[in-house]
Every structure is written in C-alpha cells, then in structure tokens.
C-alpha cells in the first residue's frame, strides 16, 4: 500500500455526479454518487496501481463519497472481498481537513492510514481480512471531504 501525492492532478475530473444521502446512520453518514464515470482518472489509477503492485490490472467499479461535518463511514459497513482487488482512493477535497482519514484495518487493527491530502491517492490491496473506514469529520471545522473510490481487478 502506498500514497501517491498529486496523482489526481494528472487528469481532469469530469464531475457532474448525482449525490444521494445514505440513510442508515448505524453504518455511515455520508453522501454517495454511484454513477461515476471518470475514464481519465481510471487510466491513471490503473497505470499507477499496476506499477506499484506489479500486477496487470483493469478498471472495475467506482463511486464517490462526500463527507460533511458530522459524517463518517464505519468499518462494519465496508464490503469484504474474497479475492484481492486493488482499491485506489483519490482525495478530491478542496483543502486539507484535519482528522479526516481513511483507515485500513486487518482483523480490526489499523495497518494503513490515508490522511487528508487533496490531490493524492492511496493504493491498497483489499482481501478477506481487510476492512476500511472513513473517520468522523468534526463539526468544529467547516470542511467537506470528497473521495473517489475505484476498484481495480
């Protein structure tokens, strides 16, 4: 797993995503866009991840998350993968947000942290024992976190 600074800046974001609010707060509180189509960013993700993981990869599914103050996504809400896809997370936030991070856990223990770093991307191999959570965004700051999550196979 690695973090690649400024990876998102290598391609334009098409945007125009349709956001909907996730309604089950015992699992997460966030907005999600499921209709993400970002071919240029997908190309960059595939190239960077293939090089980093030394695997031949192709783009799979993608979605975007937007977390406002008071939002979060808990680990038990995350999908568990029986195989080993590569997850690339682009931080598309307008500015850094203190304390907002993506935590990757193996059997519950955090083994990798992607702190707020606009423009950067994290590349992590998922698997049956790996879960991920997006940490709580404090109401003490006016800030929004936007992350584009891509799965590569």
């Amino acid at each position: 797993m690695i973090i690649v600074p400024e990876l998102a800046g290598l391609a334009p974001v098409r945007g125009g995503w349709r956001w909907e609010r996730y309604p089950f707060i015992d699992r997460g509180s966030y907005a999600i866009a499921r209709d993400v189509d970002e071919p240029a960013l997908a190309d960059i993700a595939v190239r960077a991840a293939s090089r980093a993981m030394n695997r031949e990869l192709r783009a799979g599914e993608a979605h975007a998350l937007r977390l406002s103050p008071g939002d979060y996504l808990l680990a038990h809400h995350d999908r568990v993968y029986e195989n080993f896809p590569i997850e690339v997370v682009f931080d598309l936030s307008p500015r850094p947000v203190l304390g907002a991070a993506v935590h990757y856990r193996r059997r519950g223990n955090v083994f990798f942290v992607f702190d707020s770093q606009p423009g950067a991307a994290s590349i992590v191999e998922r698997g049956p024992t790996v879960t991920c959570n997006h940490t709580y965004v404090s109401k003490l700051q006016e800030a929004t976190v936007t992350r584009l999550v891509m799965l590569l196979w």
């Binding site: 089950f24 304390g99 959570n133 404090s138």
Partner: protein, 207 residues
C-alpha cells in the same frame, strides 16, 4: 447515596419513547457529589479511539478502592430499584468514567451484543468544566456545548435497522442519570462535544 423511586420510574419507563428509558435528576446529594468528584480525580483516564468513538476513559476495572466502592454502591442502591421498576432482574454493574473534550463523540450504536448480558445501559453526568468561548461571545451560556445523548426510533428489516429517525436529545445536565433498555433497537449516540468538558460515569447492569 443513590436515590430513585421505583414507582415513579416504572411509570416513566413504560411511557418513554423511542424505547424504554428514564431520566432521573438530582440522583445524589450535593455532599456526595463533591466526594465523588474527589474519587474521580484519583482515577487515571486514557485516550480511546476507534472508528465509532473518540474520548478518554478509565480502565474497565477501577484502579482505586474508592472508585470500586463507588461502583458497588451504585449497584447496591439502584439494582434492586431498577429490577422492580423495569421488570428484568439485575444485580451487577460495571462502571467507567469518561471525559469528552471538544471534538470527542460516540457514533450511533445499540450497545446490544449477543452473549454479553447487558440488560440496562446507564450514563450519569457530572459537573462540566466550562467551555472556552470564541472571542466576543457571551460567557453566560451553557458550560458545555454539544454532548447530548440522542435516542433514535428505528425498526428492523432482515436483521438490519431501517427507518432511522432522531427521537429525543437528552442534555447531560450535572447530577442526572439516564437509564435505558439494551436491545436490538436501542440506537443512540453521544453528539460531538463542541466546547467544555463532559464528564460521566457509564456502563451496564447485568443479571
């Protein structure tokens, strides 16, 4: 030391929404409250952080005899009352002290876990330390900003909670005890503390 009336509580418990709970104010005398604060001063707290919470807490088992005795007095005085008032017999309690500083929170969850035997959850609020207010803002406001206990109405579908809506917010007023039934639907959270220091004792009653 801990005062509660079973008859009054039974009525409040039955009428409470979104799930059975009671709010008991002035549950200990002022002199006892002062003594309790002195006991807590001796009990160390450590930061505790997960995906669902951020706060400071004492260890699961008290480290001083005085805090252990505080826990035992709580069970001795209140377990018989709650058993009678709420209908499910309890005898034992655990107790930790919690400190929520600005930015601390406990996200929505039910407390219910199979095999743990939790019957009733409780939180007892102690005097808050004042918030540091932004320049220009009146200092005559509340000592604590945020930190309310929020209860949710919800139902289950296929083993998952659905139709979740906020139903009640309980202010953590000093010397207030909140008790609620632990079950699949006892969804609640501690809202983020935005100013001040929120101090509480909390835990569960067991058979």
């Amino acid at each position: 030391m801990w005062r509660a009336d079973a008859e009054q509580l039974a009525e409040q418990w039955r009428a409470a929404l979104p799930f059975p709970h009671v709010v008991i104010d002035d549950v200990v005398a002022q002199a006892d409250l002062d003594a309790m604060m002195a006991v807590l001063d001796e009990e160390p707290v450590q930061p505790a952080i997960s995906d669902i919470f951020a706060f400071e807490a004492t260890t699961p088992e008290p480290t001083t005899p005085a805090f252990r005795e505080l826990r035992e007095s709580f069970a001795r005085d209140l377990a018989p009352v709650f058993s009678q008032a709420f209908g499910r017999p309890v005898s034992r309690v655990d107790m930790r002290a919690y400190a929520y500083r600005p930015g601390h929170y406990l996200l929505p969850h039910t407390d219910h876990q199979a095999g743990l035997g939790r019957v009733y959850a409780y939180a007892y609020y102690l005097p808050a330390q004042p918030a540091v207010f932004p320049a220009g803002r009146s200092e005559s406001g509340p000592l604590l900003l945020g930190g309310e206990l929020e209860l949710y109405r919800c139902r289950s579908d296929g083993g998952e909670l659905v139709d979740i809506a906020s139903a009640r917010r309980i202010v953590p007023r000093p010397n207030r005890l909140v008790v609620f039934e632990v079950g699949d639907h006892s969804l609640h959270q501690v809202r983020e503390v935005l100013g001040g220091l929120r101090i509480s004792l909390a835990g569960w009653f067991y058979p």
